[in-house]
Structure formats: structure tokens, C-alpha cells
Amino acid sequence: MPEPLLEVRDLTVHFPTEDGLVKAVDGVSFTVQPGETLGVVGESGSGKSVTFLTVMGLTSSGSAIIEGEVLFQGQDLLKLPKDEMRTIRGSKISMIFQDPMTSLHPFYKVGYQIGEAIRTHQKVSKNEAHDQAVEMLKRVGISRPDERAKQYPHEFSGGMRQRAMIAMALSLNPDLLIADEPTTALDVTVQAQILDLIDRLKDEFNAAVVMITHDLGVVAEHCDDIQVMYAGRAVEFGDARDIYYDAHHPYTWGLLRSIARLDSSGRERLEPIQGLPPSLIFVPPGCPFHPRCPYVFDKCRTDVPALIPADGHHASACHLSLADKERIFHEEVMVRT
């Protein structure tokens, strides 16, 4: 086993508020290997974004109670002083966000904004930074990059803005790229282009990628490992085949069943997960998913299930026996999907 690029150990992020303690992330552990793509899947409020904002050092310590360890290349990022964290952020770990409309500054030209990211970390002149920015725009597949670099974000289409964001994120050749719902705001055709682009650039830049999404469909083609999150916890972890062909957690089953599939016949009724995600202030006791779980039994209401590996790799946090999980998945879930 090579040394992991990123290892998160028992991370908790709690926000004290007037209404109570918001347990946004509650004991999450995982690793990202160099060159790997990790998919992180969950609904709004499952803690997937907060986890990675914390990895980036973007949850302010003033408002959040953070515990655990975030080891990046062996170094605990949570213990780093702010200025050292700033040099890592951008040059070693960078992030792209869901909404490319709001993550570019509307007053500055796109080329300048990419160049600014470069100049923050490297001692280069304005002209050199601009040239590098043009080169990056070219590499992310923007035609006429020298003209485009002189345009403002509003002159770009949604897909092009996301490409520009990717160009900015990769301009310093980071080891880890975190993509937070990079295609949710885009058309399916553009989504396919952007996902292919991330795949290709990952190899070109030899980076690891974390892909955060709420849609299991998106990550099927592009991820090595997938982590499913619910109510601030990881409920299932495995490689793509484990998740799609042998899922062990009722929440993952629910996600798989609620997708409208192009290849399903006719107008079959979808089977959504009943109910709503829990409030993160009053997380249900026992398994957080038990109020919505169709397979709930007594133990689920009192004991918190641990994320236990069934074999070396594939793990799920559910009290059902392995035999039951496999039976239910193949008899009830696989039939539809």
C-alpha cells in the first residue's frame, strides 16, 4: 500500500448556533491515493461539502469546532498556521465549485483572474502570468484562448466558465483537485464534456480528484472509489463495482432506486426514499437513516452502526447481516436497476 495522498481520520465539524449544535460532519475517515478519483455522494446537508471545505481550510475556526486529523502528504493540515495553509491551498490542493457564475469575479477579465492565481504562488511577471493563463485556457479546450483571456466572465457560456475555473484550479499543477458538484448547473452535453475533461487532465497533470455529487449516475463512469454520505457520516464505501452491483447500505439502495434511468422500459414508477433528510441538530439516535429505512429493526433505533469492512475494501455502516444485505440488494434493488 503506497502512502495515501490525503488521509482524513475521524473528522468532526460542529457549528454551534442559537438553535443548538449543528453536527455537519460527525466522525468521517477516508483516504485518497495519488492519481485516484474518489466520488463522494450524498444529498444536500449530508456533510459532503463541509468535509472538503474543512480539508481546504475554508471552514473558519472561529465559528466551527473541528476535531480529528487531515493528513495531506503526511502533514496535518488542521494544525498548520494560516499562512502555510494558504501556500498549500491553490498550489497543492485546489477546488472547483458548483456555480461557475458566482465563482468568477465579474469585474476582472478571465485571463487576469487565472494569472492572479499564478502570481499569488509564483514569482512571475504580469505578462508571463498572462501567457500561462492563455496556455491553460488552451489546455482546457477553449478555442481562441488569447482572445478569450481578454474577455469578462459574462461573455462566457456556463460550460466555458467551468472550463475557466478548471484552468485556474490546475494552473499551479496541484496534487489534489476537489470538484464540488462541478456539473450540476450544466446541460447534459456540457456535463459529459466537462467530466471527460477532468478525466483527461487528471492523467495529464498526474493529480488525484475528489468528485462531490448528489447524482450516482454522474460518478459511475469516472470514479475508482465511491463514498456515500448521510447526515454527516460515511455510510458506505467501496469501489464503483461494489456500489453499483453489490451495494450494502439501504440508503445507497434508495439512491439507486430513485434515479430516472434512460434505459428503463416505459414509464415505471420511481421509488423515492421516503421522508426528508434529518436536521443536523437533532440527528436521530442509533443509525441516522433509521426513520427513513424500510428495513429498520430494534437495534437500529439505539445503536450507532460502525463503518465495518465486509472484505478488505468494501465497507458499510448498517446493522443488517451481510447475507441479508446481499439478498435484499439482489432480490429487490438490482431487479429495478
Binding site: L195, D215, A220, R267, P272
Partner: protein
């Protein structure tokens, strides 16, 4: 309010003859002007260009296409939120293209809209009760003192707790807010509901809840939906027929299954191949049709077939016929009309995809 089974089949039979909405060569151009004091007309955005469309009672017509293809403009033209530049809109056989004032207001009772963004489409300073009750106050279909029980009944119908009558939109999640939008659209018992990307802002698990709710309501009230989305898998799931739009034109129309199994227009093929499949093995087998370039500007759309600059099929045919590199001349010289393909399928293409090629292009097996 529930419709008898016999009545429904009658409606369906009738539907063969009388569409609820009929659009005949509808165009919507937005003028581009220059100058500060004197506005010179220098061009037009051809948002919707010569669209013929029929929506039958009780059906769901899906409308798909990329951003900027004119699908939302078309919906707003049907709703009479925009005036069509030319062409006619008939609602229940009556020409409503130019109706105004009271007549228009009465017509609007029969057509309602559900919007994409459940955060932007609800007034944050009004309670849920007054948002859903607003149509009653505007149209005075229900006496003032009966509004509250009516609204609470609607809330229950869409799966909201009627006790939350006095809460504000920010107290609800995205999915619940979309339910508020659905309840508001049902208040006047409309015949047609235009759903403009109703689930694309929601989580997948919540999408399924809203889609099921829309289906249940359709059955209960015999509603007709125009369902707009950019995601073909969602559209196919809910729609009886699907119209595919590209740069202001309908390029293909068929039932969802036909469209999926045997798309004829190369653009439909490309759209289908871009939809992600939640199955790693099938996804790996799938051949992607990659479209080159961006959607051209609707200010000066390409001559002939509007898809020709990006069409892989046109290039392939030109190559097979030994023509010079690039699209086939017929594609930029002559505009293709919507012509019948398989039964119930129309496509506007000179060189429609063959059935076999499509099976390869989407997924085999």
C-alpha cells in the same frame, strides 16, 4: 374532482381529434437595437423559429434541449407571457394569440406554471398560506373566508403539513418548496400546467418524490403537462411524447421509448449518448457522440439545417459520397422539414440515423 374511468377514456378518444393547445408556425424574435436616443433595429434573436406543436388533453409532452434552444421562451409564448412575433396559438380550439385584458385573465386560469428554482419563485416575505392562496384572491373563484380551508386542502394534497400554513418559504427544504409551487399551480384547477425544469434544482432522491407527485396529480385531475427539462432521462420518464429542440426549432418528436431506441436526428443521438448511466459496465460500453464546438448564436443561425456545423452524421455522409471535408452540401443549402420516420415519429433531417447505428452509439445490450 376525481374523474370517472369512462369519462377519461372518452377524453382520450376525443384527444385524437382535438388538441388542447395547438401552435402553428409560431415565431418569437427578440429585437436587438443600437443607439441611445434613437433605437435602430439591427437584428433579432431567433429564440423560437417556426414551431408547430400540438398538446393533447391528458398527455405529458416533454420538451428537451440545451440551454438557449428556446424551450423556455416557447413555454412563455404558450402562457402568453410573451407575445408571439408571428404564428397562432390555439387553446381548446380558440385562437388566443392576441387576446387581451379580461379574456386573457380568464384564459390564464386554465394554464399555470411551475418554475425551476424553488428559492427564487416564492416571495420570501409572504407566508406559504398566502402564496398558495394568491390565485384565489386574484381570480376571486373562492370567497375570502373559504380560502384558508381550500389552501390547507391543497397543502395536504401535495404532501405538505397543513399546520404549516403560517410558515415562511425559508423554513422549507428545496423539495418542500417545489411542493408549494405545485400547490399554487393547482389552486385554480387548470387544464394545462407548464413545468419549466421543475426538478433540476433538486437532489436525485427528492426529484423522484416530485416526479411521482406530478404523476399522481395528473391522474387525479386529468391534467395536461408541458414538461421542460434538459435531462433526457427525466423527460423520458414522465412524458408520453417528447419534442427535441435545437436553436429555436423542433428537430425531432416521438414517444419517449421510440426516441430512446431509434432516434433519427443526429442531435437527439448526441443528447442521448451524453446522459450518464448509473452502471459502470454499460457506461464503459457506451460510445459517446461528441459534439464539436458550441451552440451557434441564435442571432444569425446557420443556413439550411441549423445543426449542420456540428453534425457528425452530415460529415460522415459527405465523406462516404466522396465530397470535400465538411458537412454535406445539402445540409447547408436546404432546410430539412419535419418528416415522418417510424410511426408516430417525426424528424427534421436529410440523413436520419439508421436504427442499427443508434444501438451502437447509445448502449449495446
Amino acid at each position: 374532482m376525481s374523474v370517472e374511468v369512462t369519462e377519461r377514456t372518452d377524453v382520450q378518444l376525443q384527444a385524437e381529434r382535438r388538441p388542447l393547445v395547438r401552435l402553428t408556425s409560431v415565431k418569437k424574435y427578440f429585437p436587438i437595437t443600437q443607439g441611445i436616443i434613437f433605437q435602430h433595429h439591427v437584428g433579432d434573436v431567433h429564440a423560437v423559429d417556426d414551431v408547430d406543436l400540438e398538446i393533447y388533453p391528458g398527455e405529458t409532452l416533454g420538451l428537451v434541449g440545451e440551454t438557449g434552444c428556446g424551450k423556455s421562451t416557447l413555454a412563455r409564448v404558450i402562457m402568453r407571457l410573451y407575445d408571439a412575433t408571428s404564428g397562432t396559438i390555439e387553446f381548446e380550439g380558440r385562437d388566443v394569440t392576441r387576446v387581451k385584458g379580461r379574456e386573457l385573465r380568464e384564459m390564464r386560469r386554465d394554464m399555470q406554471m411551475i418554475f425551476q428554482d424553488p428559492f427564487a419563485s416564492l416571495n420570501p416575505r409572504k407566508t406559504v398560506g398566502s402564496i398558495i392562496g394568491e390565485p384565489y384572491h386574484l381570480h376571486k373563484t373562492v370567497p375570502r373566508e373559504k380560502v384558508k380551508p381550500e389552501v390547507q386542502q391543497l397543502m395536504e394534497l401535495v404532501g405538505l403539513n397543513p399546520e404549516h400554513y403560517n410558515r415562511y418559504p425559508h423554513e422549507f427544504s428545496g423539495g418542500q418548496r417545489q411542493r408549494i409551487g405545485v400547490a399554487r399551480s393547482l389552486a385554480l384547477h387548470p387544464k394545462l400546467i407548464v413545468c419549466d425544469e421543475p426538478v433540476s434544482a433538486l437532489d436525485v432522491s427528492i426529484q423522484a418524490q416530485i416526479l411521482n407527485l406530478l404523476e399522481d396529480l395528473q391522474e387525479e385531475f386529468n391534467l395536461t403537462y408541458l414538461f421542460i427539462a434538459h435531462d433526457l432521462s427525466v423527460v423520458k420518464h414522465v412524458s408520453d411524447r417528447v419534442a427535441v429542440m435545437y436553436l429555436g426549432k423542433v428537430v425531432e418528436m416521438a414517444s419517449g421509448d421510440t426516441l430512446y431506441r431509434t432516434p433519427k436526428h443526429p442531435y437527439t443521438g448526441a443528447l442521448l449518448s451524453a446522459v450518464p448511466i448509473p452502471d459502470p459496465d454499460l457506461a464503459a460500453q457506451k460510445q459517446r457522440i461528441i459534439l464539436e464546438g458550441d451552440v451557434p448564436s441564435p442571432i444569425d443561425p446557420p443556413a439550411g439545417c441549423r445543426f449542420h456545423p456540428r453534425c457528425p452524421q452530415s460529415r460522415a455522409v459527405a465523406k462516404a459520397e466522396g465530397k470535400p471535408d465538411g458537412p454535406h452540401p445539402r445540409c447547408y443549402e436546404e432546410e430539412p422539414a419535419l418528416t415522418p420516420q417510424h410511426p408516430g415519429q417525426l424528424a427534421a433531417c436529410h440523413f436520419p440515423l439508421e436504427d442499427r447505428a443508434v444501438a451502437d452509439a447509445t448502449i449495446s445490450g
